[in-house]
């Protein structure tokens, strides 16, 4: 018998050598991008609806207590290291890193068909993405092992400990990307020089390196443009940020690209398939499953005073100011929505009874909520598709209709302005900060973008810019932070902001005690523990595999 008889080559797959051509390397890079949305591992999406928004108090799990129970302890800050979601998230982020590393390693072996310019661009994009994935890991777990393209299976990859801070590596990758990426790209979804600069600024900001951060943001604000060549700016209508028809607009610094009907719902917003009102039938979007319900606390935050400014003293939760809700009221019973002053962004961010739910119908309240007593009266609204887009900008090939195709912004220009404002407050001019915040507020104040009902604003929207000069750093800080809450709610930033500002314990415990009194089963007696809950536990499974000397558990777990 000849040995060749016993040589059966693998089928339908490629060897590493086949990936070193230009097309192979480009394909590897696409694979690296594709991990941004977690590919169906819902909590691992870079949009961070659980780890950023729910932990930040903008929303709760939603639905009822028995559904997707792995999220129950997470939202109560009782996450055990054995929780499967934190392990899955860990692995998804590293999958992204592995794909970047494969791209970089293949690039080093590339043939002459890959030009020097190609190399600069491809390595820039790969390192941008690697920087992004490590940034995610840093925010979530803090202490993580750093793996680059020189390490692989069989060469001691499992021996890399999580003892070394990865911030310098993140900075290095993003800096490299900024220095090497072109200003515009052939494809709108690619990272460009300015996305890298904004991201680098964000990395500095997270480390409180305000000088370096400000320098980045200043450049981005002055000269930044999108990968498809649009000068950075704010889109005129707030709702247009979250409309698939308006993807890759001038505000999109870097976004997860989303597409429907590609053959797999993983290319659409598969992280959001549960995050729709419940039991809507065909008169509502998604028709499943009632997750990601905005919190009372968030909804109340949109209360404005007579001048159209937010209640920065926290009084929005007082009985007098808190939003009137249909909590405990059946849909068959009468209900009149809140008549007080409100920031118009409320009705782009929170689905509530009596207000038009995009172009679907008025939100009916109770009937679209799976278990009001468990998760409150609100529905998510930002990443909901329009009725007119059903089937074209949604993917109906899976078990629900809820696979939408609008991009998920990871950094948008309003975010950049607000981050720049933070830098200005710390090391620059309070007035510049106020100006940045006012740019953001002015857009929200555009009546043309308000939710309307019967031709009139759907609620009493009263909003204005900060007209008085800012003179106190602390007040300015509060205003900027509150603006981030209002502007970026539900976009996965809040928890990480609270942690980096050092106010997580006080803010979250206040939230939990307010919210827990209303949603007793979900959040009652839950508590944020300082010096522990700022980060997720290192997954026990990973510690079991690599050893507790290599992966040191985070404090408190």
């Amino acid at each position: 018998c000849k040995d060749s008889f016993l040589e059966v080559p693998p089928t339908g797959q490629l060897a590493n050598a086949q990936l070193t051509s230009k097309a192979g390397i480009e394909g590897s890079l696409i694979g690296a991008y594709s991990m941004l949305n977690g590919r169906g591992v819902r909590l691992a999406s870079s949009a961070n609806w659980v780890f950023g928004s729910i932990l930040g108090g903008e929303a709760n799990k939603g639905t009822n207590s028995g559904d997707y129970t792995a999220i129950n302890p997470i939202q109560r800050f009782e996450t055990p290291p054995t929780n499967t979601e934190i392990n899955d998230t860990w692995r998804v982020k590293y999958e992204g890193i592995q794909r970047c590393n494969t791209t970089l390693a293949s690039l080093a072996k590339a043939g002459s068909d890959v030009t020097a310019d190609d190399k600069k661009r491809i390595s820039g994009e790969a390192r941008f993405l690697r920087g992004h994935y490590y940034f995610e890991l840093k925010k979530l777990y803090n202490n993580v092992p750093y793996i680059d393209e020189s390490m692989d299976y069989g060469t001691g990859i499992e021996k890399v400990s999580n003892a070394t801070d990865v911030w310098p590596k993140i900075e290095a990758d993003l800096k490299y990307a900024m220095d090497n990426l072109p200003e515009t790209q052939a494809a709108a979804g690619r990272a460009n020089k300015w996305a890298a600069a904004a991201y680098l600024g964000k990395a500095y900001l997270f480390q409180k390196k305000y000088t370096e951060a400000k320098a980045m943001f200043d450049q981005v604000i002055a000269s930044g443009k999108t990968a498809n060549g649009k000068k950075y700016g704010l889109v005129t209508k707030y709702a247009q940020i979250f409309n698939a028809e308006n993807d890759n607009n001038e505000e999109s610094v870097f976004a997860i690209q989303s597409a429907a009907n590609t053959g797999s719902v993983n290319n659409a917003n598969s992280d959001d398939d549960l995050n729709y009102p419940y039991n809507t039938g065909s008169s509502g979007p998604g028709n499943c499953c009632g997750f990601f319900q905005p919190s009372f606390e968030l909804a109340n935050s949109f209360r404005t005073d007579a001048n159209g400014l937010p209640l920065l003293d926290g009084s929005y939760n007082s009985t007098a100011n808190a939003l009137k809700t249909d909590f405990g009221i059946q849909s068959s019973a009468a209900f009149t929505p809140d008549a007080g002053n409100l920031d118009p962004r409320l009705d782009h961010s929170v689905g509530r009874r009596g207000i038009p739910y995009l172009d679907w119908q008025d939100h009916p309240g109770f009937d679209w909520i799976r278990d009001q007593s468990y998760a409150g009266p609100y529905s998510p609204k930002k990443y909901i598709y329009y009725k007119s887009q059903e089937g074209t900008l949604t993917d109906g090939s899976s078990w629900t209709r809820g696979y939408a195709a609008m991009n998920k912004p990871l950094i948008r220009y309003a975010d950049v302005l607000l981050m720049a404002a933070e830098c200005e407050i710390e090391i620059g001019s309070l007035e510049t900060a106020r100006n940045y915040v006012n740019l953001v507020r002015a857009r929200a104040a555009n009546p043309a973008s308000w939710v309307t009902k019967n031709g009139a604003p759907a609620a009493k929207y009263v909003i204005s810019t900060y007209t008085a000069a800012w003179t106190d750093k602390a007040v300015a800080r509060t205003a900027v932070r509150f603006e981030r809450k209002l502007e970026l709610s539900g976009e996965g930033h809040r928890f990480f902001d609270l942690v980096r500002w050092g106010i997580a314990e006080s803010t979250i415990n206040a939230y939990l005690s307010y919210e827990g009194a209303k949603l007793i089963t979900a959040l009652g007696s839950a508590k944020f523990t300082a010096n522990k809950n700022e980060y997720l536990p290192i997954p026990q499974t990973q510690i079991d595999i690599q050893g507790k000397d290599i992966l040191k558990q985070n404090p408190g777990y």
Binding site: L14, G66, E95, T262, S283, Q330
Partner: protein, 1070 residues
């Protein structure tokens, strides 16, 4: 017995006396002696002596005795006669077929079980292996009640971390599954259990080998014999689980709200979209009137009908659903009395120079789930011709058409798992226990009713689901066979060359409804279609030699074999929303152009090239030794470790042949045997394991880099990390045992003690997460597993009174399975997570798929108990109190512990056969002891917050309340968390012991004198009942719970139960 003298009324001519002795010259008592052609008879006395009156000097005496071969003796004028009867040691005379050679069980030195061919046809089943349960010791078979579904068959335990399926060999050709076989075509079944018996199959033998041989004509001139076997029966689905009726469910909803409020120290706010907001729950008259829920009073149906719409594409759904206050029996609604029929025709015969067997069979077996049906049509042609005295040519050929309709959990690409995944999946059976009984099956105008009516959470109408799958079809056309040439150049030297193969063509299509009736509906009408083929072949060349020189007998076998396990291609496609949902319209062409997906695959199969040899020697039929060795090479492994050598040695000593045993005449036969050997295994290794690979996949690595919103660009990802050094798993078996025949064959007793150690077990070492989550981990030879056990078979035969003969066969097997090591630093391998519960952890020093979680020591009965107990998250009245395993005063993940094993410690079966004249009766019972079942279906039915509003088990009526504390059913309340339904714990783990009366049948063989008049050779009619009762404490539908993976089985999430059936059968031969 003496009564027979009374019938002897013929004139007394001559008196014949004599003695009946055995080969040991001892008299045999109780032998029946009858003068042929008369009713004159007698019985030998205690010393074997007899006397009988004969009419003619040419009379023929017919002698028969239990445990001896019947004999006819011509008196030939003698009046005194001594007759020697040969022992009929049936069990030891059984033929053991190894696929390369055959021998009698008497000569066998290995551990082999054989199954009688009539046992295979007794109970109708889709897969013949289902009949092995309890009939062969050392073999564990777990089947589901779904016809055509594969069974979990394990021989001598679990020697590998995945895919412990035995190797099936049919007429010398290895195959992956045996569901294409008609049970009636099978002549013999040999189960090779240890290395001594199975090592001849070397690298694929480690999980045991089941060798089937199909019928052939006999090797002598014989006229055509035609047999017909027909069977008709029905399977009764029985009753479902006891659920709360509508009023009870409403009342318990209020109880839950009340209990939740008490636990939280608040006042209860009663309210439900259907049951109102009062202090007691009130059932509504209508559940859904155009989206309004909880409607009481009358509804103007004529007016409502105008608004009725159940087409989601035509606008908002508008239904009118009346409350079914009497309660809907959902289990009853999706099940039925399921008919089965089977017809087989056999034609066999031969001449001096040729012999043949033709078989035709048709089986139509409906499942108890409506629309589920298994059909199989087979045609078999076996023939052999002597071309000369020295050359024979033969062939075995079979064509099978098999179809499975509307099967739950079908996995076409993996025939070994077909239908198995239902056990641990959320199927229609589970839906039937999740749908609230107040929901009717249909709305007022004929559409489906369902959870679109508010307040019942998300189960889907299982009747609609069944209706939706009624056109789902899967069918295969299969050609199987071999052709062989035998050349016998000198006496007893046989050169044989055989080439065999199997071609399987599979086709499948299925539809999914666009739903409207549920709270969570399928977004689109879906359609998918699959087609694929697989071709496998085996080329075998052997030399067999036998020689007897005086007392020395030698048998030698040498062979060479090359094979491919199956190469093929397949193509599948899916799409949504065709213009019309008429099934005559829908193809992949007519589905919508958006969302259309086409996939295909290519599979080169796995090649093996092997040489093997066997040498058997026996001295005076007293001492036996045997040696086997096989060297295998396989494409599964890289060049460094491609080949494996697997030797085995065994020996036997027939003590009963020794002179010193002569003094123990009650021992008719006693053989002690033992063996050692090694077998290989590579089933658990992906053929690509040696390679590091990358792939492109639309779901795994595409991205819309261009921002098109409607298309994605292909990207690559690492699909596999390779291990070029992986090599064979080695199973080393040692065993010792004996086979005996006692009291002249009245008793047979065989015991085998065996030990099977797996070293170099291939284990997909969990990759550290830093390598990502997509690349398949390489299989590395690191694990070790231990299996040991005892196989016992006891047979007792005899007669109770004259003509009433009995035979009782009992088999039993003890099994101790244990994982003895994983990789360095790895102590466990987790199982699958279901709704947040992870029932299984494969861990060191415990059996495969062992259950792992918190041990419930009781329910918290008082606030002081809560306060004094170890700190436990969510502790509260009536909730689970967990054991503080590590005693640190805190209940956390470190307190999880072993909760039981799904592997039965003891499995066995007992067959009782009674024959009385023309009547025969047989019954078969199977028993499984010492295993546990993870009844995860309780998560859905026993807890209020597990999809609140879904149906609730009647068990909650005994749930904990302050006045009902003597219960293990926790309080019915809203909390979902660590101390309630949030963690897998011993509440779910139930005793899996059962005893099943598997079959009982009564047959009548029509007397020959009646038959000859109508030209029949033999005729038998029989009636049987199967699965008559099951004695078990298991609370789920059926304790026969298997699973699709060895590292994750014994978990019940709505298993299709095995239920009672009744059959009538007719066998004729012409």
């Amino acid at each position: 017995i003496m009564l027979l003298y009374a019938v002897s009324t013929v004139a007394q001519d001559r008196k014949v006396t004599g003695k009946v002795v055995g080969v040991d010259n001892q008299g045999i008592p109780g032998v029946s002696i009858v003068i042929k052609g008369t009713r004159t008879g007698t019985t030998s006395d205690a010393n074997g002596n007899f006397s009988i009156n004969s009419k003619s000097s040419n009379d023929v005496l017919q002698l028969s005795g239990i445990g001896y071969k019947a004999k006819e003796v011509n008196l030939a004028g003698q009046t005194s006669i001594n007759v020697t009867l040969d022992e009929d040691i049936a069990a030891l005379e059984e033929v053991v077929v190894t696929g390369y050679s055959s021998s009698s069980k008497k000569e066998s030195t290995g551990s082999v079980a054989t199954i009688k061919s009539k046992d295979l046809v007794m109970v109708p089943s889709g897969n013949v292996e289902q009949q092995l349960q309890g009939r062969a010791s050392g073999v564990t078979v777990i089947s589901s009640g779904q016809p055509g579904a594969a069974s979990l068959v394990r021989i001598h335990g679990f020697g590998s971390f995945s895919n412990n399926n035995p190797l099936y060999v049919v007429d010398g050709v290895p195959v992956q599954s045996t569901d294409f076989l008609a049970p009636g075509d099978i002549e013999s079944t040999s189960i090779l259990k240890d290395a001594a018996a199975a090592s001849i199959y070397g690298a694929r033998a480690a999980n045991g080998v089941i060798v089937y041989t199909t019928k052939k004509g006999t090797k002598r001139a014989r006229s055509l014999e035609v047999t017909y076997d027909g069977l008709y029966g029905v399977t009764d689905p029985g009753k479902g689980q006891a659920m709360l009726n509508p009023q009870e469910q409403a009342d318990w909803t209020w109880n839950a709200i009340r209990n939740t409020a008490i636990a939280n120290g608040t006042t209860p706010t009663f309210g439900h979209p259907q049951y109102g907001t009062g202090t007691s729950a009130v059932l509504p008259d209508y559940l859904n009137v155009g989206g309004r829920s909880g409607v009481s009073g009358t509804v103007d149906l004529a007016a409502e009908r105008l608004k009725y719409n159940i087409d989601p594409t035509a606008g908002a759904i508008y239904q009118v659903v009346k409350a079914n206050k009497a309660g809907t029996d959902w289990y009853g609604a999706i099940t039925r009395m399921a008919p089965i029929s089977r017809h087989s025709l056999g034609f066999s015969g031969g001449t001096e120079n040729g012999r043949y067997y033709f078989g035709l069979s048709a089986q139509e077996q409906a499942g108890i789930l409506v629309y589920n049906k298994f059909s199989r049509y087979t045609f078999r042609a076996n023939s052999e011709f002597d071309l000369s005295k020295k050359v024979r040519i033969g062939e075995n050929l079979q064509f099978t058409y098999k179809s499975v309709l509307a099967q739950d959990g079908n996995d076409l690409l993996n025939p070994n798992n077909s239908g198995l995944s239902t056990i641990a999946g959320e199927g229609d059976i589970l839906s039937a226990f999740r749908m609230s009984p107040i929901i009717p099956i249909y709305d007022e105008f004929g559409g489906y009713a369902g959870t679109a009516a508010k307040g019942f959470n998300n189960p889907r109408n299982p009747v609609a689901s069944r209706d939706g799958s009624k056109n789902d079809r899967s069918f295969t056309a299969n050609g199987f066979g071999n052709i062989y040439l035998e050349y016998e150049p000198i006496t007893n030297l046989v050169l044989r060359s055989s080439i065999g193969g199997q071609y399987n063509n599979a086709y499948q299509y299925a539809y999914s409804r666009l739903q409207y009736e549920n709270s969570e509906n399928n977004a689109s009408f879906g359609y998918n279609e699959f087609s694929g083929y697989q071709f496998s072949w085996t080329f075998t060349n052997t030399i067999n030699y036998q020689k007897q020189i005086g007392d020395h007998k030698i048998k030698a076998l040498a062979g060479y074999e090359a094979l491919n396990t199956g190469s093929g291609r397949g193509i599948s496609g899916s799409g949504i929303n065709p213009f019309s949902t008429d099934i005559n319209y829908i193809t992949l062409t007519t589905v919508s152009s958006t969302g259309k997906v086409v996939n295909s695959y290519i599979n080169s199969g796995i090649t093996f090239a092997s040489v093997f040899g066997q040498l058997d020697y026996n001295l005076s039929d007293k001492y036996y030794v045997s040696g086997v060795v096989r060297r295998d090479g396989s494409s599964r492994f890289g060049i460094n470790s491609r080949y494996g050598v697997f030797p085995a040695f065994s020996a036997a000593w027939r003590l009963s042949k020794e002179d010193f045993m002569r003094d123990l005449p009650w021992i008719s036969d006693l053989k002690i045997k033992g063996g050692w050997g090694q077998m290989g295994n590579s089933n658990s290794v992906d053929p690509n394991n040696q390679y590091s690979l990358y792939a492109a996949n639309v779901g795994n690595s595409y991205y819309d880099i261009n921002g098109s919103n409607t298309s994605a660009v292909s990207g690559f990802y690492r699909s596999r990390i390779g291990n070029p050094n992986a090599k064979w798993e080695t199973n080393t078996t040692t065993n010792i045992g004996f086979e005996s025949s006692l009291f002249r064959g009245k008793w047979d007793l065989a015991v085998d003690l065996w030990n099977r150690e797996t070293t170099d077990a291939l284990f997909n070492v969990p990759l550290p997460g830093v390598l990502g989550n997509y690349a398949a981990a390489p299989a590395v030879n690191v694990g070790t597993l231990s299996n040991k056990g005892i196989d016992i078979q006891i047979i007792n035969r005899g007669n109770i009174i004259k003509d009433l003969n009995y035979e009782v066969t009992a088999t039993g097997s003890f099994l101790d399975n244990k994982i003895t090591s994983f990789a360095p630093n790895i102590t466990y391998l987790p199982g699958t997570t279901y709704r947040g519960l992870t029932p299984v952890r494969n861990q060191l020093n415990y059996p495969m798929s062992a259950f792992y979680g918190y041990k419930v020591v009781g329910l918290f009965n008082s606030t002081s108990e809560v306060a004094s107990a170890p700190k436990q998250t969510g502790a509260g009245l009536g909730r689970f109190r967990y054991a503080d395993i590590n005693g640190d005063g805190v209940i956390d993940a470190n307190d999880r512990t072993y909760l039981g094993s799904p592997v039965p410690v003891f499995t066995g079966g007992m067959t009782i056969r009674l024959t009385y004249k023309a009547f025969d009766f047989s019954t078969f019972m199977a028993v499984s002891l010492g295993n546990k079942i993870a009844n995860v279906s309780k998560w859905y039915t026993d807890f209020y917050p597990s999809f609140t509003g879904a149906a609730v088990s009647a068990r909650v009526k005994n749930s904990w309340t302050p006045t009902n504390t003597n219960t293990d059913q926790p309080i019915f309340e809203g909390e979902s968390g660590f101390s309630t339904n949030g963690e897998f714990n011993s509440f779910y783990v139930e005793n899996g012991n059962y005893l099943r009366m598997q079959n009982m049948s009564l047959g009548y063989t029509i007397p020959k004198n009646v038959l000859t008049k109508i030209g029949l050779k033999s005729a038998r009619v029989s009636a049987s009942a199967s699965n008559i009762f099951t004695i078990t404490s298991y609370k789920g539908l059926d304790p026969s719970v298997g699973g699709a993976a060895d590292t994750n089985f014994g978990i019940d999430i709505g298993n299709v139960p095995i239920t009672r059936s009744y059959n009538l059968a007719l066998s004729l031969s012409f």
